[in-house]
């Protein structure tokens, strides 16, 4: 049996969870196993309605009187106890903050190896797998061994597809045996952000600037372009390091990952750590003075020129056309 960790919002599974379920189904097919799921919260039955279509036969709904919010160690301990009880072939989690955190706790508690951000698996006695390194710039072929294999599925890489023979999932309650120390870390409160505008990660168009912008004021033109296109504004790490932009704007391996219809990087060279942040972009239109810049090779469209000359003219042309 393949046990999958399900993350959900009020009973609706996250996209990364549906991807992980699709990934789990591949492992299940190879090992001739069933797929079951572990769910926390009161919405177990609601989740079961959704994940049955992905081939999940049984949902283990974890509940405990002291467990009413996210508690990473207690969740990791609960999964570990389910592993004891069910002896799954593998535990698969989405490659999300919680997925990695819970799985790492389970791994440490059971002294098992864990492979993060996997793309493909060839399941045998040990698993031959492909996983992401450097945020996806590099692939690693690795071998994972251990009594139970623990893996996370790389987010936004696997297309989530319901099973041909999907059905209904049965719900089974599971009450873990928890000690006080398991519950020492949990969410104590939630703060809402006061950020306005379109979140970078969700924007349909993104305009960004790098070291080539030259100064904090240089970004004024880019802000204007973003306004005219209803776009979000982003930056490279160099612009953040220079103190021109805040880290919230940073696109890349250690910043935000974007997936717009159009991405317009201005004065950005196209370092691999930047490019992994925008590989979800459908189209890239680079503006750069250097025709040899790496970003030109990676773009669909390129303008060779000084952004300080191109962008103001472009803003003018858009204003004329749209009457803004």
């Amino acid at each position: 049996m393949i046990l999958t960790f399900v993350e959900h919002e009020a009973g609706v599974p996250e996209d990364t969870t549906l991807e992980a379920l699709t990934f789990a189904r591949d492992v299940a097919d190879q090992t001739d196993s069933a797929i079951e799921a572990v769910v926390f919260g009161d919405e177990g039955p609601a989740v079961a309605d959704e994940v049955g279509a992905y081939g999940v036969g049984a949902v283990h709904a974890v509940s405990h009187p002291d467990l009413d919010t996210y508690a990473p160690e207690a969740w990791g301990e609960s999964v570990s106890q389910l592993v004891d009880e069910l002896s799954p072939e593998a535990v698969i989690a989405p490659g999300s903050d919680r997925g990695h955190e819970v799985l790492a706790h389970t791994a440490a508690k059971r002294d098992l190896a864990m492979a993060a951000n996997c793309l493909e698996v060839e399941a045998g006695d040990s698993y031959e797998l492909t996983r992401q390194r450097w945020g996806g710039t590099l692939l690693e072929h690795a071998r994972l061994s251990g009594e139970t294999k623990l893996l996370s599925a790389a987010p936004n890489e696997i297309s989530a597809e319901p099973a041909d023979d999907g059905g209904e999932a049965a719900v089974q309650e599971f009450e873990p045996d928890l000690e006080e120390s398991d519950l020492r870390v949990q969410i104590s409160s939630i703060e809402e952000s006061d950020e306005e505008g379109i979140p970078l990660g969700e924007a349909r168009t993104v305009v960004s600037g790098g070291r080539g912008v030259g100064s904090p004021e240089g970004f004024d033109k880019l802000e204007e372009l973003a306004d005219l296109l209803d776009a979000a504004i982003g930056s490279s790490r160099a612009a953040v390091n220079e103190g021109w932009r805040s880290h919230d704007d940073q696109i890349g391996q250690t910043g935000t990952k974007i997936s717009p219809k159009l991405y317009i990087p201005c004065g950005i060279s196209g370092a691999v750590q930047h490019m992994v942040g925008c590989k979800g972009a459908e189209n890239i239109m680079a503006i750069n003075t250097d025709p040899e810049a790496a970003i030109i090779q990676k773009a669909e469209y390129a303008v060779i020129g000084d952004l300080h000359e191109v962008v103001p003219e472009l803003n003018e042309a858009i204003r004329e056309e749209t009457g803004q």
């Binding site: 440490a108 072929h141 020492r184 790490r237 090779q297 990676k298």
Partner: protein, 256 residues
């Protein structure tokens, strides 16, 4: 408060990653070395907490002799002490790395110990998202990962940590001693001056030999650079003359 920050030496890759012929490593012939931005923020946080509370900041890495270079970067950023857990030969898997770090901390805990351990959320290269959690579990300390805001309350003996989630953040409160795994954006790491770097070069970095504890459960077989369709950019023009062409593309993509 005494704070320990853990960092890992990685190659500073630029626009393209080139592999060695045997596909076991990145070809570093023409590359410098660095650490993850997450870890830089970890060091900065450790130094700031040490400064505010009159404590100490220690930077630790596990690696070969050459990894002292990154420890010295941390010293130049005003960390007080540097430690190298020195291993020989090939890279280790996350379980062995975590065990060696935890064993060292356990020994230190028997003496004066640390109040807070800071890890990067994931290393820049291998990115296995687990060394911090494994260390915390071995030491039976509370941990929370993906942290972008941190505040210690020395009197209460707690640390408040925030994780960004869609539309806001989750707040966690941990009793000290505790472990956190942090992300870039936590703070703005200071720039190490030339003088600080010169001084750091003369500081001693304690070297402690370490041995592998168990068989690796996760083994690297080989590396591969993913295929990319490159060199297809349509050049829309040079300078402002390109504007009409840009407008055409904006219309075609329906983003106007």
């Amino acid at each position: 408060m005494d704070v320990l920050a853990c960092l890992k030496r990685v190659p500073e890759t630029g626009a393209k990653i080139v592999l060695t012929e045997d596909q076991q490593d990145i070809d570093t012939t023409n590359l410098g070395f660095t650490m993850s931005p997450h870890e830089e923020c970890g060091i900065e946080e450790a130094v700031q907490i040490a400064e505010e509370t009159g404590g100490s900041a220690t930077a630790l890495t596990l690696g070969g002799e050459e990894a002292k270079e990154q420890v010295r970067t941390a010293l130049a950023m005003q960390a007080d002490d540097g430690v190298l857990l020195e291993k020989d030969g090939a890279e280790w898997d996350p379980q062995n790395v975590a065990a060696a770090i935890a064993n060292y901390i356990e020994d230190r805990m028997a003496e004066d110990g640390f109040d807070l351990l800071v890890f990067g959320n994931e290393s820049a290269d291998a990115g296995n998202y687990q060394v911090g959690v494994r260390v915390a579990e071995q030491l039976d300390l509370p941990i929370v990962t993906s942290i972008k805001d941190l505040e210690v309350n020395e009197e209460a003996g707690t640390v408040t940590a925030e994780r960004e989630v869609g539309g806001g953040s989750e707040v966690y409160e941990l009793d000290l001693p505790a472990v956190v795994a942090v992300k870039e954006g936590l703070n703005e790491p200071r720039y190490a001056s030339m003088r600080a770097r010169m001084r750091a070069r003369k500081q001693t970095v304690e070297s402690v030999p370490v041995e592998k504890e168990h068989e690796a459960g996760l083994e690297k077989v080989r590396l591969e650079t993913p295929e990319k369709d490159e060199g297809t950019a349509e050049i829309l023009g040079e300078g402002p003359e390109a504007v009409p062409e840009i407008m055409r593309v904006l219309r075609e993509l329906e983003v106007l």
